[in-house]
Symmetry: C2
Subunit: 344 residues, 2 copies
């Protein structure tokens, strides 16, 4: 099909949400697709990564990255296929990871290739969904957060919240491989069972079933050496109350707080850091970009040899984006949430 | 005077306070003084250190040290003089630092010398009050917290709350010596002026005068690289909102929260740690005991050569202990709070 007959359907931010995002926050647009100029590439979106961080990008607030502007295509990372190229580094048919946005096509000028994070991916190392999960940003976040910030030692107890999510499944399995005792926290029996039975966690606490504090005491008899926090809120406080001496908390996110219309709930047990000579440290995955290839090589090796598994929750179609995104905040997804926009 | 004619007046914990401690929480007792047995020493209390941490020791809660039991002599560190000794390491007239308790005399058996932290101090290195301040626990806290946890680099901006207090004055002056820009936070014009004019801080924010957030923006144009937190509460949140990338927060205490009858106020801006790849870490000074002599040597050098000054707020008499302690929580003290029990 000729490029100039293609139409690019897009999802743009129409208004900033108050609380949970709704369909009214989005507008659906379309525009013609253009051929790349010299040095440029045209990428067809295959699958997009839906992430909790998206909620933050919708707010007009200072953060590690500027907010998405009103009227702009919503920011999203994803995997696409090169369908036209005027750049010798990219051939038609190449699979690439890129900041595609929530749209069907992305035209990237030569001087925007780096800014859009476009790089070729090797389909031999994992499926497209895995490239958005263990081999993608969530996997990189888990890898560098756990290893660089957490510095796990064999025999230590690692707790990870959002255990069945994209970051959580990477963190937990990697911590097991590094010789740690791993306790997940997830919502619902099904996720907990999967995390223990399929991923090999030592235990998983169902926070929807009740007393997280008591369960932490049961499953972490020697205290928590590393807590990888994806959720914030009450669970962060419960873990703070259970820290071992010299503990490390990796602040990766706070999904429980992202839709708040009231101020963020600060961890009232933070003085446990003092009592236990413990540390709470934030991280942003982009800082580790130059080491992603090393992490991908290690993690794809674990996927190949069966020491790691992955699970993705794949939702179909660009027009389902608004409802799909909300699943993240209700815990409606089971595994890494992926929006499949087109077949490979 | 014969030892057996001496009377030891004591202040004991009668009941645990709810909120701010009052005179009703204490009971005043007396008992005869006894001669030391073989290996033991008898110490006469000269001056006691009054510290915010004392409030925590009065609570029946798990911490880095057991609470003071009901009916027990209140825990306190201080400087005393050996007045009887059956131990070759201590001679009559030696000045010692020790966990004396709020009482006039402490009899220490040989096997309790280490547990009570009894060590000889050199009056050449500083006055008795300085041995409770820059050369004592507050100074050690400031020294190891700033240098080991904070790891200051020349040109960085260091903020310290409780700036005119014992820990704060050490931290700020030491940070200046290490080449940092230093901004204090203290209560009232007089303390702020002293910190800037006498101690050489670059600026000091009077939190009682109003907008700490705006003042931080003014005085920390490049953000806050190190925050040494003695107070917690709203000020911690204000500093979190002003962190520079890679910032380090030393959690030393939270005096604003110690008398709370409601839960501790958690830092609602803690996600600034994520955005700024920053760290919040707790410390307990006792962990550094084997390195105290090194710190004392360095700090006493600065006191001698005039690069550091110290200020103590000396209150007289054991029976004023209840009211003196409360000054810490109202900001009523100006400088390190010392209770002088007897003349040297």
């Amino acid at each position: 099909m000729a490029i100039d007959s293609l139409v690019n359907h897009q999802v743009r931010l129409a208004q900033r949400p108050v609380g949970a995002p709704t369909r009214e926050n989005w507008t659906f647009t379309s525009e013609p697709v253009q051929e790349p100029a010299s040095g440029g590439v045209l990428i067809k979106t295959l699958s997009l990564s839906l992430d909790p961080a998206m909620r933050g990008w919708m707010n007009d607030a200072k953060s590690y990255i500027p907010p998405v502007g009103i009227g702009e295509v919503m920011r999203a990372g994803g995997v696409g296929k090169v369908i036209a190229s005027q750049n010798p580094k990219f051939a038609i048919g190449d699979l690439v990871s890129a900041g595609l946005g929530v749209q069907e096509y992305l035209l990237v000028a030569e001087d925007q290739i780096k800014r859009n994070g476009v790089f070729k991916i090797n389909p031999q190392l994992g499926s497209i969904s895995q490239w958005l999960n263990v081999l993608g940003m969530p996997g990189m976040t888990g890898y560098f957060g756990l290893l660089d910030i957490g510095q796990p030692k064999p025999g230590e107890t690692v707790v990870v919240s959002g255990a069945a999510g994209a970051v959580g499944q990477t963190v937990g399995q990697l911590a097991r491989i590094k010789g740690c005792r791993v306790v997940g926290i997830a919502g619902g029996r099904a996720k907990c069972d999967w995390v223990v039975n399929e991923l090999g966690f030592d235990a998983c606490i169902d926070y929807k079933a009740g007393n997280v504090k008591a369960a932490l005491k049961e499953h972490c008899p020697k205290g928590v050496d590393i807590y990888f926090d994806n959720v914030g809120g009450d669970i962060l406080d419960d873990v703070l109350a259970r820290l071992a001496r010299g503990a490390r908390i990796i602040i990766c996110g706070a999904i429980s707080q992202y839709n708040n219309t009231t101020p963020v709930q600060g961890p009232k047990n933070y003085l446990s850091l003092l009592v236990n000579r413990a540390r709470m440290e934030g991280m942003v995955v982009f800082d580790y970009a130059d080491r992603f290839p090393v992490a991908v090589a290690e993690l794809s090796g674990y996927l190949k040899d069966g020491r790691m598994r992955s699970r993705e929750d794949v939702v179909q179609g660009l027009d389902t984006f608004p409802e799909a995104l909300v699943k993240l905040f209700t815990g409606g997804n089971f595994g890494k949430l992926v929006l499949q926009v087109a077949d490979a």
